[in-house]
């Protein structure tokens, strides 16, 4: 009787320690990663793209359906942009070249350039502009109300800034590249300045991470 009384607390402690250790083990095994595996990746709860409609360069509308099933690199700019826009589009061309050996991106990757200057950029003009960088690039814009509905859901800022005393203006805009997943998940936001090899490596990591 005395022996039972003495050993009971010891057993309880052992059981508690074992339970605690098993709990930690299974928690680690089943819980999702709490930190983003790649810099810029919005994980574990990437927001989903909401419905939108833009005017595509070929005259047809571009909606969320055009992005479904694709890995889409999304960039915002305007054709009167002398520096960041042509530089980023050149970089994206390099990125798509670097990702040609990635089966997922090679088959289902696309670049969509969205003009935040619909007053000066027509869909047809945008097609010629992005085709200069890569014939496979797509482009779109929309009248201000539809454009703002799209940019605001993505956190893209764009503001007209007057140049001098005339009517000319430039547009300050977010220079990030966004990665939209095949399920319309907003997977990542890559901040400028962009380096092609770095961007390609991060996109590879994200695709690999989602497949594991």
């Amino acid at each position: 009787m005395v022996s039972t009384v003495r050993t009971a607390p010891v057993l309880l402690v052992i059981i508690a320690v074992l339970a605690f250790a098993l709990g930690i083990h299974f928690a680690r095994k089943t819980a999702p990663e709490s930190t983003a595996p790649v810099e810029g990746m919005l994980w574990p709860n990437p927001p989903r793209l909401e419905a939108f409609m833009l005017d595509g360069a070929d005259g047809a509308s571009i909606t969320e359906a055009a992005l479904a099933g694709k890995w889409t690199l999304l960039f915002f700019g305007f054709t009167h942009c002398p520096d960041v826009c042509p530089t980023t589009l050149s970089t994206l061309r390099e990125v798509t070249d670097l990702l040609k050996d990635n089966p997922d991106f090679a088959q289902n990757g696309q670049v969509l350039f969205v003009s935040v200057d619909p007053a000066r950029d027509t869909p047809a003009g945008l097609a010629r502009y992005v085709g200069h960088f890569d014939r496979g690039f797509r482009a779109a814009t929309a009248p201000p109300a539809r454009l703002s509905a799209f940019t605001s859901q993505l956190g893209i800022l764009h503001t007209q800034v007057k140049l001098g005393s005339g009517q000319d203006y430039t547009v300050d805009h977010t220079a990030s590249v966004l990665l939209i997943g095949p399920g319309l998940e907003r997977l990542a936001v890559f901040s400028a300045p962009h380096e092609a090899s770095d961007l390609a490596a991060r996109i590879r990591q994200i695709i690999q991470f989602l497949q594991d």
Partner: protein, 204 residues
């Protein structure tokens, strides 16, 4: 060739002492203009091999661009913002790279600048004593299989560029020219006489 009549009056003013003495411009380049683009940026490495501060306060590209401005692209909280710069200052021995895309500025030490000078084409090197400095801006075509894909050499460097508005008839922007050049000129002022008259004022 169109540049000559405009540049000639500038060269005649080379007796002015302050000048661009010591200014070396290396690796200047400009991207092939995409269809519809009205504004392009040019880039270069600028080095002051002289003994006094250089202030670049004007730029032009006669025959190719209607207007040339000195700009800086600033990236703040992910946004690109284009800022007009009145001048670019170069301390003696300093090198300033103007490069695309708002990349971080890189300043070189005089030692590094001397190393670069050995492979410089020095279109307006030290001792020219010219009031302005003309140089050729090279365009490179990296993908001969794709005649529409004019790309450029990429320089590491800073966030400053020279924005230029191309003329509608600019001959160097035709897509069937694989490698071309575009003339450009820069003017410098001594700090004590700044602001100097613009190139267009002098040539007129």
């Amino acid at each position: 060739m169109k540049a000559i009549p405009l540049l000639l009056p500038l060269l005649l003013t080379s007796c002015l002492a302050q000048a661009c003495d010591g200014l070396v411009i290396e690796h200047p380049w400009i991207r092939e203009a995409p269809p519809g683009a009205r504004v392009m940026a040019g880039y270069a490495e600028l080095r002051n091999e002289g003994s006094s501060l250089l202030v670049i306060d004007a730029a032009e590209s006669p025959g190719y661009f209607d207007h040339v401005m000195i700009h800086e692209t600033q990236l703040a909280e992910g946004r690109a913002h284009m800022v007009s710069r009145e001048t670019l200052e170069l301390a003696p021995g300093a090198t300033r790279s103007v490069a695309p895309g708002g990349r971080p500025r890189r300043r070189m030490q005089p030692g590094a600048a001397r190393a670069l000078a050995r492979r410089s084409r020095s279109p307006c090197g030290a001792g020219s004593r010219a009031r302005s400095c003309s140089f050729q801006c090279a365009r490179r075509h990296l993908d001969p299989d794709r005649p529409h894909a004019w790309l450029c050499c990429v320089m590491a460097g800073s966030a400053q560029g020279i924005a230029a508005i191309p003329r509608a008839s600019a001959p160097a922007i035709t897509p069937d020219v694989r490698i071309g050049t575009c003339g450009a000129a820069m003017a410098c002022a001594s700090p004590d006489r700044h602001p100097a008259p613009s190139l267009r004022d002098q040539s007129g």
